[in-house]
Each structure stands twice: as C-alpha cells, then as structure tokens.
Amino acid sequence: MSDEHGSGVPVNLSPGGRPLGQRDPHASPVQRVQVDLSAPQFQVAAKNPKRTERTTLVFFLLALAGFAGFGAAYTQNASNFLLGLSMALGLLMFGFGVASWGMFLMPRGPFEEPRALMQTTPEEKRLFLGDFESRGKVAIERRGFLAKAMGAAAAVLGIVTAFPLIRSLGPLPKKSLYRTKWRKGSYVTDINNRRVKVDDIDVGSMVTVFPQDDVGGAISQTVLLHPQTTDIVTMTGRETWAPQGFIAFSKVCTHAGCPVGLYEQATEQLLCPCHQSLFDIYSGAEPVFGPAPRPLPQLPLYIDSRGYIRAQTGYDEPVGPGFWERGGTT
C-alpha cells in the first residue's frame, strides 16, 4: 500500500531531456488510503469462506477443463453435441465460479446510497426556462421569417429524400393484385412443365398447376382436382367450368395467402394447413370452417380436341387475401 513513484528510480534521460521513469510534474499525485473495513457489512457472506473458496476453485478448474475440451473437440472436428457440451460446461462452470465468488466471498452488505427525486425544484425550472426562452426562443422568434424560410427548405429536403427512400423500394401495385397469368386458352401445366391431359389425372387426385407461361408462379398457382367423371356444377353460371369432373381453384388461400395444399378426398374438401380453413369443392370452394372469409376463385376449364385441359378464361376475381382497394364482393 505505498506509492513508489519518484523515489529510488534510476535516472535515464529520454531524448526530450526529462529523466525517464520520473513522474510528470504536472500529473496529480496518486494517493492511497486504507479504508476501514471492520463494519459487519464488509464481512463476506459465506458462513464458511474456506469451503466456499474450495468450491469456487473447483468451478474454475471444471471451467478450464470445459474450455480445453472445446479446443480439443474443435481440432478433432467433433460433433455439434461434443462441441456444445464442452463449451456449455466451461461457460456454466465459469459462471458458477464467478457468481459464487461475487455472492459469497465479497462484502455481504447491505449498503445504501441516497436517491434524489426526479422532480426538479421551481428554482431549477425557472433558471432553465429563463435561459431557454429569453436567450434562445425570443432570439429566434424575433426573426420569425428566417425560421419559416429555414423550415421550408428543410421540409423540401425531407420530401425529396423520402422519395428515394420509400418510393423506389418497389413498384406501385396498380392492377397486379387483380390479375394472374391465366388467359383465355392457357394450358394447364404442371410444375415439370408438362401440359396436363385428361388421361394424366386419376379420379380422386389433386395436382398443382400453372398457366404454361408462369410455371411456379406464386399468384397463378391453382389446384386441379378430379373428384368424379361427370361435369360438376358448383353454382349457376358455372355450368361448363368443370368438364368431365375436372375442377380447378386458385391455390392461394383467401385468408392469409398460404397454399391450400391438402385435399381431403373423403369429404371432398380442401384444407389450408396454415390456419385450417376448409373449402367445400362442390359448392365452389365455399369456406365451411375456419377464418377464411371468401371462397377460392374457380378457374373455368375446357378440354380441347386433343385432350388437353385448358382455361376458358382467367379468374373472374382477384385471387388470394383481401386488400383495401378490392371491391366488396362476397
């Protein structure tokens, strides 16, 4: 506990001429004090400090073993299990060691410090506002026209920088939410780019299909079902839409846009696995259960002279979940 500076240090001259190792005369002196630690609050918390010391030592040795084990595991390109276990052992034991040192081998306390209320005094408020208002605000208000001009310039800066920041992020929606790539005469095409013929689809099966120019398209995806072999009429006006039992619906759920990927043959229903909306095929994919608010749009099909399944036209309404600009059809 003694200050060794400045006494008995051999003098070597530095290039600057000041003796090396000698204290900078402008530095404040370092003084040490011996603080009285006899108060009971300074006693360690451990009942048996020797035993706690030994336990803590064991923690640190186990930590060392864990970290060394991680090193070994790493060089041996060991499994994730060994790497993680050795690292976890090291970290946990290190943590236990440090924490037990802090909890049991350091002053038990309690200590206190004063706390000032946050609420300021009227005097403090008065002085602050005096400076703020009389020195600053009045000076600005005196030349209000300058403040307005500065504000106008800053506002223009804000507006013109908002454009590259926001407007350039993406195209405007325009009509893209209303349209898919299905057109009059589009071939019903599977994911392997094969145009689907009537003979390809067994009764009771489901295939995900696309228009031939948008295979894999997220919005155009459609389920082609073949529940029976005679025409299916889901509602009036759709008498010709499902020839020979081939029926197609948009695969984009009208609830939150997930692919309506599960076909329950027994009940002739389509299930969306995200939020469990159920759609009844024979009533035109009317939602019968779950949160979906609207039926899946039905794609009108026809079968051409060579047996290819094709679209009579595109969807007659926007597919997928709703959006503000979408009209109020139910």
Binding site: V35, V98, G102, E112, L117, I219, K251, W324
Partner: protein, 497 residues
Amino acid sequence: MIDRLFNWMDDRLAISRGGRHLLNKIFPDHWSFMLGEIALYSFIVLLLTGIFLTLYFVPSEATTIYHGSYRPLDGAHVSEAFASTVNLSFAVRGGLLVRQMHHWAANIFVGSIVVHMLRVFFTGAFRRPREVNWIIGANLLILAIFNGFLGYSLPDDLVSGTGIRIAFSILESVPFVGSYLAFFLFGGLYPGNGAIIPRFFIIHVLILPLIILGLLGAHLGLLVRHKHTQFKQPGAREDNVVGTPLWPSFMTKTLGFFFLTTGVTALLGALVQINPIWQYGQYYPWKVSYAVQPDWYMGWLDGALRIMPSWEIHLPGHMIPNAFFPGVLLPGVTFTVIMLWPFLEAKLTGEHVREHHLLDRPRDRPVRTATGAAVFAFYFVLFGASATDVLANYLSITLNTVLWTFRIAAIVVPIIVWPIAYRICKELQRTPNAGKRKVHNIVVRDANGGYRTIPAEEYPGYVGAELEPLDVEKIEVLTAAGKVTEPGVYEIPRDYR
C-alpha cells in the same frame, strides 16, 4: 505501471470524479431483477453469434444446386440463402452450434423481455418517474419480436417462407396503404423479384439491431438516472437504494450471470435441435407443410389468425380484410394499451401526483394484478390456439371442437381468471408473512418429558436483512492518528504512506 496509466487517463478523462459514484452504484438484491439481465445477456449472445453467422450466410434468392456434405439434399435446386444456411450448419466447424445458440438466444431474448415486463407490471415499477422507460421497454419487445421473425425467415426454408407469405397478406390488409406497404417492403407483388431475403437480411443484421442498441442504451441510461426501484424491506425508503454496490460484488455476480446465460444457451444449442431447415426443405410458393408453427413469440398472432371468425368488412369499392383484425388491429391495440397503461392507472388511482421508488407486492394491488393476470390469460389462450391442428391430431378430436374451444376460451378464461386472481390477492393480504422465509421451529423434549419449541437459527445464507444498510460513500479512512469519518472529498496526510 498501472498506477501511471491510471494517472495519465485520470488527468485527462477525470475518471475519479464521476467514476466513484459509478463504483458505488447500488443494485438492490432480488431474484426478479435478474430477468432484465437475462434479456441483456441473451442480446449480447445474439450479437456475438450473429456476427459469426453473417460471415457464412449468403443473403440471396438466386438459385443454386446444392452439393454439400448433407447427402439427402445433394443435387437439389435451392436458393443461395438456403444452401449457405445448410453449409454453415454442416460444413463450418461449430457452425451448427452457433446457429442453434443464435436461435435459442432469440427465443430466450423475447421470453426474458416478456417475463421482465410482467415483473415490472405486477410490482408497479412502471409508475412515475419511469413511464418513459416502460414505453422504451415495450418498443424493445416489439423490435425483438420483429427481428426474431425476420431472422428465422432468412434461411428461405419451407416453414419460414410460408410465414413470409402470411406477413405479406397481413401488410396487404392494412386499410388505405396496405398494398403499397406490402409492395414497397417486398419490392413488388409477392414473392417479389429476389428482394425479400436481401432486404430482410439488412433489416435483421443492421437496422433493427442498431435501433435496439440505441433503445437499450436509453433504457439502461434512464435506469442509472432514476436509480433502481426496490422492494419494501428494512432500511429501504423512497429516498435511498439498498443493496449491493457495483464494485466489486454486483459486477462479479452479474458477470457470473452473463456466463450462466451464455452457458444455458450453449447447452440448448448442443442438446436441443432447433429449426432443422434441411428437414423442411427449400421454400417454393406452391408448397406447404402440415403443422406449421412459428417461433413461440409469434404464437399469439398465429393463434389469433386461426380463431378469428371469418369476417370481413365490405365498404363501397373497398374492404377491410379478415387478416387485418388479428394481424394488425390486435397487436396495435395490445401495444398501445401496454404503453398507455401507466397513464391509465395513474388516472384511475390518482397516484400520478408523486414519484414511486418502492415497489408494490402484487397482492397489495389486487385490481392491477387481477387485470394483468386476465389479460395475460387471454394472450396465453391465443398462444395455445396456434396449436389447434397439433392438438386435434394429438387428442384425436375434430379441428372443429378445438377451434370452438379456443374461440370460447379466449373470452371465458380471462373472465374466470380475474376474480380468482383478485381473491388470491385478498387472501394473501390477510395471511401474515405469506411468501416470507419461515424460521424453522425445533421441538425439544425436556428431562421431564415435556415438549417445547424454540425457533431455529436463521438460515445461514440469509444475511443482510438483519444489518442496517451502510452508506457506501461514507468512507472511513484509517490514518496514523486513528479512524476518521470523511464523507465526500478527503485529504490524506502527507505522512500517510
């Protein structure tokens, strides 16, 4: 040498002027104050493991053919993001461990924020003057949830890709600006033009972490300015803080706690598999897997999406889609009410007139506690509802039954929880010393065969409460002349060496 270094720094930075108060900053001792520390430390783990992951992850949706060490995927057409995630899991040494630690730390991060928030709520620590810090905390929770979602969306696997699709639909559902919001964030109509993963990446690793760091700095800065709240205990008053000083006790304890948090994360990373994307496979917009659940902290939103009745609002030429109510309105109302709660409560109780630094026992505030419990029960039901399909499968009952059970439970359970919680509070108030550590009684048989009980000694580890708190800055200096009590600045006699 260290002396001289200290002196050099001190003469230039005035360390000893403010530093002494920092060394002496008091941290009250209560286990519930460690919950926020878990959040802080898991965030540090997130930063460290996250930096490692950015070195190997390729944020690109460009298609590549996978030829890596994971044989079942050999030759598969996948995105760069997916391939690099599989690669950093299997081809980079320790990569899987770090990735799993990162994911687990994210779950712990959000979880500890929620539990920390509950602690602050039920003990009334949000009251004046800490309303601002409560609002900052709520924003940290929102950002943590967002960033967690963005993070698990990055690998471009089948499960997370479905989540991104739902996120697009929820954005699209916002009245007036929804489709613009969705188009601007995704760079166009879903699934965008390869912009999603790069954009999510930069938001996940740069933008949100910076905002979180800034708010975290403000959160902790305000904590230092206000000083800690404390429970009512001997010696604790509104105008003091009783506990452990930063140096050396608290610093050591909390450093140990940091390593324990990291160690638990490493243990989970080693033993408990999380998000095995190679089992889910690459995301394709037309593919979907059964029983898809998001990470736990998105569960309440997913559950709300599931049990929402199939309503939409139709207006002339416009509509408010179904997903708006559970996806935008619910979280919007939730976080607005959370942030406004301190003001609502102050208005209702008229207690905004004074500062509060002593905490409430939850039982002493039965209305607040019951309200908090009921609201929490509501979100817990929503959380459970995100497993409707799994429950129906597991319990072999119809989805219909499960769905309606949750729809009814979401309304009924909070109504039941409120009076029960209120009753428990009232009962606890009447029970003396409830929750306090009991002193054991020793039954002694005397020589005459009679029995009497004597209280046992205090539990050995339970110290502190019986001593008067000592002012840390009231230093007692030993001088040659004896003991001198010197508050504040003191001069040391020249002959003291």
